[in-house]
Structures are given as structure tokens and as C-alpha cells.
Amino acid sequence: MNMDLEKIKTRSVIVKLIRRWFDERGFLEMHTPRLVGLPGQEPHLDPFWTEVFTPSLTAHRSSFPAALITSPEYMMKRLLAEGLDKIYDLGPCFRNNEPWDGTHDPEFLMLEWYRCEAGLEDLMCDTEEMIRFVFHELRATGYTLRTEPFRRLTVEEAWREYSRIELAPLLENREAMAKVVKEHNQTVLPGDSWDDLFFKIFLSEIEPCLGKKVPTFLYCYPANMAALARKSVDDPRWAERVELYIGDFELANGFAELSDSIEQRARFEEERILRHKLGKKIWNFDERFLSSLSKMGNAAGMAFGVDRLVMLLTGAKSINEILPESARERFEEQLLDGRL
């Protein structure tokens, strides 16, 4: 019983304000399916699987496996490829095997929006304007948003500023990266990938500093760390990916979207190998998604954690305060008491 009705009411108002911002700017809300046969491939996300039964199947089967989406991304991109522009989706997404630590719940409200012929600059402008609009309309009390513009920092600049490390010479050089990581008092194991080593320094020294004073966009990621992003036209060692940090939260993650289906298939292959290596379930690629990619053009899209914005603007310490009943409250107490 940690719900706070005031905060739950504010959550409802925030959702309406977000919809209003997008609607007034000519974005169309899509209600993409939650239940799909081939969910996102991302190796570090686990979908919830279920079994679908129906008497209507014509094949010699009465049931098949299906999953709840971890993000509406594939369907949204197919809609872009079909010719839509400026679309958004705001609804629950589901991720299994996440820590219930006060910032995650296995079902959460996700906002994603996409535009054609756009890049990171457009996503950053949309995001900043939308947050300012919600903040002012709401007269939010839990957080003070100052008038100075959000900070824009490349990953390379962030490493230089907070860890005094030049990242560019370390790109794709695991040995050099391992040496630096060791010097920074972190563990290095033979099985650690370049990405793992990146995160050991990033999560220890850099991420805790981001967005604390001024909301901060972190952008231009090492090319290998952006599975669905285009490589930068100026320098292919970096990819067009952006994240937004405000206060204690990572609120959004966006890409200038990869539209090369051959490269996308290659990245899917790599991800499938990694899933297999991690002992995780594997499934077929979504071929309809892959074949639509080339028709999508130069699109950009942002995924935005609505519940985290609600926590920020209401000053909630835990996601449990802004949900009618969090998973932790639904399941954990009952498990401990032997009722489940």
C-alpha cells in the first residue's frame, strides 16, 4: 500500500499532456499490437511469452507461442515504410527478468515517436519542447526545470570530462580498453566484451554525473553500441544514438534509424548469436520488418519512459508510488507469505 492518489492523478494528467503535445503538432497516435509472434531481438531484453489458442487456425495446429512487446518499434517502422510520417505510440510495454528496484516494473508506460527525413537534432528538439510543455502545463512541484537549454554532450566528450579518458583511440580495441579499465580500479575478465568494459567505467564514473544539474542529452555512441541506429555520415566509428538524463533518471533513448535491411539482418545475426551465448531463447527474425526497412527512408525515433517522467515531476522516490499496484507489491509480499 504505497500508492499515492495525488501522484496517480498526476500520472493521468501527464499522459494527457503528452498526447496533447503530439496531437497539436500533427503526430498521429498509433495503437500498435501488444501481442506479437516475433518480439524484439535485443539480446539483453526478455519478453514475456504466452501460448495463444484459437479454433480459427487453418494450419494443423490449435495453438502457437506469442509474446508481449518489449517496445512497439518494429510495427512503428513498418507503418513509416507504408507511408505514414509523424506517428507516436503511448501504451504499456513488458519486460521480463528486470530488477524490481524502484525504477523498473515489468509493465510500464512507453512513449515512442517517429518522423521521416529526420535526425538526432529533431529528436532532441522534440524531447526538450515536449518536456517543457508538460512541466509548465502541470506546474510540476517535484522538480525544478530551469530555463537554460538542455546540455548536449557527445559520449566522447563525456568520457573526456568525467573520466579524463580519450575514447576514440580505444574504439574497437579491446586490449587498450581493458588496460584503461584496470587502471580505473575495475575488474577485467577474459569474457568481458568491449561493451562490457565500456559500461564498467561509464556506469561507475560517468552516468552518475549526467543530468544532475541540467538535463543532458548524451549522443553519438560507439558504432557497435547501437543495434538499430545509422552510422554517422561524418565519422562511421560513431552511431547516431541519443539518450536523455535528468535528475536520477535515464528517460529516453533514440536513434537515427538504420534503414539498410542487409546491415540490419547482419546485426540481427550477431544478436541471435549473443542471445544463444547468454543461454537465452531464440526465435526467427521478423521478415516483414526486415523487408519494409528499405522503404522507410531516413527516419528517426525516440523511446521515452513515461513512468520515469512522472516520478521526476512528482518527486516520487519509487515507481511503486505512481502505480495503482506495482509488481513488487502484487507478487513479492504474497510470495514471501506463501500465498502464491
Binding site: M1, N2, M3, D4, L5, E6, K9, E42, H44, L45, E98, P99, D101, H104, N185, Q186, T187, L189, G191, D192, D195, D196, F199, K200, I201, L203, S204, E205, P208, M225, A226, A227, E250, N253, L278, S318, N320, E333
Partner: protein, 186 residues
Amino acid sequence: MSSPSEIKKGCVIRDNNELWVVTEFQHINPGKGAAFVRTRVKNAKTGRSLERTYKVSESVDLVDMEYRNMQYLYHDSTGYTFMDSANYEQVTMSDDDVGDQGKYLKESLDVTLSMYEGNPIALQMPRKMKFKIIETMPAVKGDTASGNVTKEAKVDAGFTVRVPIFMKEGEEIIVNTDTGEYVERA
């Protein structure tokens, strides 16, 4: 060797023959990366603190600790003093080492101390504890209509916690000491 997912506040990690006490930890899932545990660890000898991030799939050397059942006696300028229920030996832990959990300590409370080479390293509280409300605003008609379903209450141990609007002074409640949240009426 153990998985970093077993890391908890107060456990001790051995790394290159140095002992590091975990003072804070947080599970992190960067979304587009593997799962990690970010820790703040304190060197048991020098007291130096640093941030260290472990991949959940790597293994860490968690030191075997000796667990002793103790009773809480009193708090003074040297810290919190406990007594071993078996041999009446007294042990003192500094305010720093006890940290935020100190607020739950009530005289003669039974706790478990994790000891390493005779020194107390960490304190384990009962997960659910009973407290008595000593101060809270009475519920006013219309509160629930305006959405105020919880309110602040001060309990006998001296800290405040959010409780349902209908709770009154003198009533007893159960608090989860991991989260610091109200669980139910006692």
C-alpha cells in the same frame, strides 16, 4: 565464487587480497547492454571508498562471514553497542558502519551481526518490524476525496513513515526495513 547478483549491503568482497565492504549497491540494466551491479565499496583497511561496477555474469569472491546473534544495548558517541546473546561479549559499531539502519534500532532488539576476524562488518535487521505511532495528524473528513490516502506518522523509534490516512496515534504498524515502507497494521 559467487554471482554479483548476491551482493548485498554489508557483504565483503575479496579482490587482490584486499577486503572491500559493500556500502551501496544498485542493479542496472542499461537497456542496450548486459545487466550490471553498480557498487560503492569501502576498503576494510584504509577506509577508502570507490565505485565499482560488476557484470551480473561475472563472479566475485564473497568472503565467508561469521554470523552472531546479538542484542542491541545503547547508542553513544562511540556508536551502537550490541551484546552477544551467547557469551555476553559486547561489540560496538560506528555510526558510519551502521548507517541509515540505525533508526530502526530499539533497546534489546535481536539482530544479526556479520563478523570478520572478530570485527563487526555489517548489521542485519529483521525484515519486518513493529513500531507504535506516537505522533500523526488525525484524519479529516474529505481527505480521501481529495486524494490524500497516506500521511506522515512519527513512530516510537523516532523516524517518520507514510501510513494510511485512517491510522491513529497509539496504533502499531509493521514496517519493511529493506524499503522503509509501511506494510500493514500490526
